[in-house]
């Protein structure tokens, strides 16, 4: 495990007030991992997202949610009751000394508390205010509810996933709000760049549905241009490059193998042919084949070409069934074959490439008496670094630091607020 090298983080001068819930955490995490000071605000009784599992040691407990840990690294945490007028006043004070507010309430909720973009920007025109909601701040469905499942459905991605003889599926680990959170982060940074050029702040309005559409690799225009809809195909690759079985069983699991035609797939088919030949397993019909001439467009429409593709597919499957994931990966690596193991999380944590790059980071959890291994840096850079800096905050962990040192309130005031349930 590489220790954190002493390089700058990119966003150290900036402060972010994070008012998000479970669908918005990722944005602040990215900004915090890039070095911004992110202050996450949760209700005095603890954030409801602390009830989301899995849990440390499988013990449901607000300080043991791995969901909370995963998406709130590099953030400080304070408690505050936003529904009390005094809480609202404190938010306004915090906003005054922040560059960015990120929130994921239903559209209009913060406006009703006097904490929406319009109200806050009136006294601080250079504020960047980023909202992350299922369908965006405007439009006929702005008030619709959305979860990972229903938004993966509504953005069109889910229709493309799963076995054809069953219902469409989502990726079993929620991803749509994760992607939307990353998009919110880059949009926020674009707005920050503009502010630093012009002094002008603005409202950034992220639609999780729209971010979801950007998972579809341009399937969106098939009905316009081809008059067809792309459909789910189980373990087959069907994104317009012919229709080939793309997940093949191997000796110790599965691998993905990209049987494409044309210039894209030919080098792989020559390389696998050489491998098969070296073991005396190359069938006669594959010998001397000009794989470049397998035109992709023809494969998509020509039934005879598709039959040949299927036969090729099964021949390769039979060959690879005797190899392990690592044999196939090593061969793919040295011979430039478009193949890769179907890894699981255990494979990832042990992966020599990730570990050689020091991808995972060990963060201290002194309250649990342990360190936990986290993913991971966002990139390697020559003059900076980006990755989780410290673990997610405990409930109210930074109240004294933020209300005391940042806003200048005496400790007695904090105690009084605590008695009144404000913090």
């Amino acid at each position: 495990m590489a220790t954190t090298p002493q390089k700058d983080y990119l966003l150290t001068p900036y402060r972010v007030l994070d008012l998000t819930g479970e669908t918005g955490f990722m944005c602040g995490k990215v900004l915090g991992d890039l070095g911004a000071e992110v202050i996450l605000v949760e209700p005095p009784s603890g954030h409801p997202a602390r009830a989301i599992g899995p849990f440390y040691g499988d013990e449901p407990h607000p300080e043991k949610s791995l969901f909370w840990f995963a998406f709130n690294t590099s953030k400080k945490g304070i408690t505050l009751d936003l529904t009390q007028p005094e809480g609202q006043k404190l938010v306004r004070e915090l906003v005054r000394c922040s560059d960015i507010v990120v929130e994921s309430f239903a559209p209009g909720y913060l406006d009703a508390l006097g904490l929406g973009y319009r109200a806050l920007s009136a006294s601080k025109p250079d504020l960047i205010f980023t909202s992350i909601t299922p369908y965006g701040q405007t439009g006929p469905r702005k008030h619709w509810k959305g979860t990972d499942l229903t938004l993966q459905a509504r953005c069109g991605f889910q229709y493309l996933l799963g076995d054809p003889d069953r219902a469409p599926v989502r990726i079993s680990v929620p991803t749509i709000a994760v992607k939307a959170g990353v998009e919110a982060a880059n949009a926020t940074l674009f707005a920050l760049f503009h502010r630093n050029t012009t002094g002008e702040g603005q409202h950034v309005d992220v639609s999780i549905q729209a971010a979801g559409v950007w998972q579809m690799m341009n399937a969106t225009s098939f009905p316009i241009h081809h008059g067809t809809n792309q459909r789910r195909a189980g373990d087959r690759y069907n994104a317009g490059f012919g229709n080939a079985r793309a997940i093949l069983p191997c000796a110790d699991g599965y691998v993905t193998f990209f049987t494409a035609g044309g210039h894209m797939g030919a080098p792989t088919l020559y390389a696998i042919s050489r491998w098969m030949e070296s073991e005396g397993k190359l069938p006669e019909w594959m010998r001397g084949k000009k794989w470049e001439e397998w035109d992709l467009a023809r494969l998509a429409t020509d039934r005879k070409a598709q039959q040949e593709m299927d036969e090729l597919n099964e021949t390769i499957a039979t060959f690879l069934a005797t190899k392990t994931k690592w044999e196939i990966f090593e061969r793919a690596f040295t011979e430039r074959i478009l193949a890769a193991p179907v890894n699981n999380v255990q494979d990832l944590v042990a992966h020599p490439q990730l570990n050689a790059r020091g991808f995972f980071r060990l963060l201290a959890h002194p309250e649990l008496g342990t360190d936990i291994l986290y993913p991971g840096h966002w990139a390697l850079m020559n003059n900076a670094q980006a990755g989780p800096r410290f673990r997610a905050p405990r409930i109210g962990e930074h109240n004294e630091e933020v209300y005391g040192r940042l806003l200048g309130y005496p400790r007695a005031q904090l105690q009084e607020w605590r008695r009144r349930g404000l913090v």
């Binding site: 791995l66 493309l160 680990v173 990353v182």
Partner: protein, 408 residues
């Protein structure tokens, strides 16, 4: 005051296929001048990948390419020639603020365009290098597409049904995740340079980006030793939490209930049938314990209705529901329409075509999507306008195949 965030920012885009070009497109959408460097002799595979306008293959007819390269200028260069490499180097050293590239690690070095080659002349250059497994490490030279990196990052293991083998995630999934990260890093690096004068070489691994999008599953393993597997549409907390068949050909609706309040809404939408009143369904834990029974009842209810009808009824009572939208549905989606998501633009060969639009709305600097370039279309704008080459020199470069184009 400029309405475009990156007006005056120059980007040279050596990306190809997905990640590099999409990353650079974010900047084109927000006003940067982006020059896509491409080639006719070794054209970007996406130029010959569907969907094509009128389903007709052609180098200037692919929406796949167009979508990822909207709003850019295109310069065609035969990089096998030293003159082409010299032109590319001049653009990087004399003109660019940002260079994006997406080759396996040795390619830019072979052209003399590696960060190490450019940084001595331009220490403030920001360069993003993105490949499957990163620029360093024992497997840095692994070559593949996003459908390989998605497999490496664990996505196929967690897609599909527990009683069956893994499923593909449509397309090249890490190509859809990595550009958002690249755009964030580049914007942060631009800001850092403005404050410190320092450039940046950003080594962005598509494999690592994939892993960074499933941190909960990683922690469940590093803490609890649990290996995430595929589970259809099930969720630890939600119930019902599934996709149900509706009336019509391959029509489905997703329904997700997490709270008692939402359950009450669902029951009301169902017309409060007797089965819903059973004691065992009174709590979320009880419902979770009898999930299969609930799913069967709901499937019975949905199968005679339109998916849109179910969605509308449930949303009206505060229950999250979503039609499993086809691509055709997306073009009729009133919410996406209201937000102007699909940007129909006039392309010189393809005519009016829909580009995937902006995910985020900016109140002061809205951004815009431009049409994609023809292959090599902007050689004059670049060679004359930026590099100030003479007409004779340009004609000579074209005649000798250094500068390439396909303008029909």
């Amino acid at each position: 005051m400029s309405r475009r965030v990156f007006a005056g920012i120059n980007v040279v885009d050596f990306g190809w296929i997905g990640v590099g070009p999409i990353t650079a497109r974010y900047f084109a959408d927000h006003g940067a001048t982006v020059i896509r460097i491409e080639s006719l002799t070794r054209f970007d595979g996406l130029r010959m990948a569907p969907p094509y306008k009128n389903a007709t293959p052609g180098l200037n007819n692919s929406q796949f390419f167009a979508n990822f390269n909207a709003g850019k200028l295109s310069l065609g260069l035969n990089m096998a020639t030293p003159e082409a490499r010299a032109i590319a180097r001049r653009l990087c050293v004399e003109w660019a603020h940002i260079v994006v590239e997406g080759f396996t690690p040795k390619q830019m070095r072979a052209w003399g365009l590696h960060y190490d080659d450019l940084a001595p002349a331009r220490p403030d250059l920001i360069m993003l290098s993105t490949c499957q497994l990163g620029q360093t490490g024992p497997y840095a030279m692994y070559a593949g597409y996003g459908n390989m990196a998605a497999s490496l990052a664990g996505y196929y293991t967690i897609t599909g049904w527990p009683d069956r083998g893994p499923c593909m995630v449509y397309g090249a999934y890490t190509d859809m995740l990595t550009p958002g990260v690249g755009a964030a890093l580049l914007a942060a690096a631009l800001d850092y340079r403005r404050r410190t004068g320092k450039g940046q070489w950003i080594d962005l691994s598509q494999f690592e980006t994939g892993v960074n999008h499933i941190p909960t599953a990683i922690l469940d393993y590093t803490v609890n030793g649990r290996i995430a597997n595929r589970r259809g549409n099930a969720d630890d907390r939600g119930c019902p939490h599934a996709v149900y068949r509706c009336r019509g050909d391959d029509r489905w609706v997703a329904i997700a209930v997490f709270t008692d309040e939402e359950w009450t809404g669902l029951v009301r939408a169902l017309g409060t049938p007797a089965w819903t009143q059973a004691e065992k369904f009174a709590t979320q834990a009880g419902r979770k314990a009898h999930e299969a029974e609930i799913d069967a009842h709901i499937a019975e209810w949905t199968k005679t209705q339109d998916a849109e009808q179910v969605e509308a009824i449930l949303q009206s009572v505060g229950v999250a529901a979503g039609v499993v939208a086809t691509q055709s549905d997306l073009h009729q989606d009133p919410q996406l329409q209201h937000r102007g998501f699909f940007a129909w633009r006039e392309h010189k060969v393809m005519g009016r075509s829909p580009y995937d639009g902006l995910m985020s709305h900016f109140s002061k600097t809205p951004g815009d999507v431009g049409p994609a370039p023809l292959l090599g279309e902007h050689y004059e704008a670049v060679l004359t306008g930026i590099l100030h080459l003479s007409d004779e020199a340009i004609a000579d470069l074209i005649a000798r195949g250094v500068v390439e184009m396909m303008l029909e």
